[in-house]
Symmetry: C2
Subunit: 279 residues, 2 copies
């Protein structure tokens, strides 16, 4: 089985590691960055590096793990450049714009719009982790537009990586992702900016870290280009989520200004209920 992975960062690299474990899999890597190509080859993520659209010939599967705006731009070209034998899968964190971009392509049935829900705050080929996807969820959108043969192959591939697939519409995916993933990233990035603005004396961050800060700002280390592209693509859902979040923060601030411990304890207890929802 020949697999081409375009984008050799955290996600593409970790998929390469997960798939390379299986016999009879030959993995070719592509990346716009020569350094990423070099590192991916040297650290054994891929069997070889390929360039240009010819590289797709004979591929059983092409996996797109580039930033979401690039996936949106190139998805139709990739379907054009691949033949009837090739399954094309993307792994982007937003799904509506990508599904829209590919919706009228005559071979839409060879495409699977996926979002494997896994990651860390690190990026690039050296951030690739064996087992990153094991036990995690994978979302597939508009599965009804993919024909059974290609869908089965994709689901099996994600199962081989230890993932369980859940089906959703692209709009539903993007709306939930805005709250459950993208808002967390924004909150972390902005918390990082706030603290760096104020704590001009950086050594104090060192002194006082370990008080909850490290956990809430973990995501601030995430890759700016990857996340700019995600935030912009999910703009409208994210603005709604941010409005809600800012509303809650203002409400909390008013509670502080009123010096109202009873109302504050009620607010925190109510947030605390999430204990019973999350493990």
């Amino acid at each position: 089985m020949k697999i081409v992975i375009k984008g050799l960062g955290l996600i593409g690299g970790s998929m390469a590691l997960a798939l390379k474990g299986h016999t009879d899999v030959y993995i070719s890597g592509m990346d716009i960055s020569a350094e990423h190509c070099h590192l991916a080859l040297r650290s054994g993520l891929v069997h070889d590096i390929v360039h240009g659209e010819d590289s797709f010939s004979g591929a059983d599967c092409v996996i797109l793990a580039t930033p979401v705006d690039q996936i949106e731009q190139e998805i139709c070209g990739i379907l054009d450049a691949t033949g009837e034998d090739t399954l094309v899968v993307d792994t982007g964190s937003t799904k509506a714009a990508i599904c829209q971009a590919v919706s009228r392509h005559p071979e839409r049935y060879r495409f699977v719009a996926a979002h494997p829900l896994a990651g860390t705050e690190h990026s690039g080929p050296l951030a690739a982790m064996r087992g990153l996807f094991a036990g995690k969820k994978n979302i597939i959108c508009e599965s009804e537009k993919t024909s059974g043969f290609y869908l089965d192959r994709a689901v099996r591939m994600f199962e081989d990586m230890g993932m369980h697939t859940v089906y959703m519409s692209p709009d539903e995916h993007d709306r939930h992702a805005a709250y459950v993933s993208h808002l967390s990233h924004v909150s972390s990035f902005m918390l990082g900016l706030t603290v760096m603005d104020i704590e001009k004396d950086e050594s104090t961050i060192f002194e006082l870290a370990g008080t909850g800060f490290d956990s809430t700002v973990r995501l601030v280390k995430s890759h700016p280009v990857t996340w700019t592209s995600i935030f912009i693509k999910n703009r409208s859902n994210l603005v709604t989520a941010l409005d809600e979040y800012i509303g809650h923060l203002i409400n909390f601030k008013e509670c502080l200004l009123k010096n109202d411990p009873i109302e504050m304890e009620r607010l925190l207890t109510s947030a605390n209920r999430i204990k019973h929802i999350l493990k």
Copy 2:
């Protein structure tokens, strides 16, 4: 050496575990909750449970690990109820109000205002962890108001737990703590509320968790009473920090509304600099 710990939650319980490892230490526990007393005794955090102010007689050290508003209310009474041989140490997460409350007590010199910087999102005696404090920082405020004999004893006790002590004024402590600890907790609590408001169908939180959300909302599980008391006590610094944070979020939202990826990438890259500050 006889130590009395008042407040047998995460902090008091973990201090008991850290100190109990040393020979010749006898630890008595006090807690307003009969259940906490029972659990602390049963899980071997303390040698016995004591009640009432008589319990302090003969103690070499009294450690206060109750919520910060309670410490503020009872600190003078504890100094009154203890004799010349007794060091009194608090462990509260805000320091200005407590230092203010004790400032005119004639035996202020027997008190050490401390904040051992360690914790988890869990609470109660069963959350106590051996080694919680090892390798962490401890803040001591207004050390100049404690006489050398008592200060040395306290510093040695924290060192025995593996902590390194840093000295700060109470105002400086509270200002930094607002940004580096308390704001992180508020951001997490409000993120939890926002997501629960919207994700009425709780199963979706399950499906999509593992996308950064779990890390940013870890602190939402923190104890509402403990944190209400901290937020209210550090009200004025926290309002300033919240205003800055809300300002950054609004700025980010405007950048989304303007659909400006260049400015957004600049913002995220600038937040990303924290990578070089935090490990």
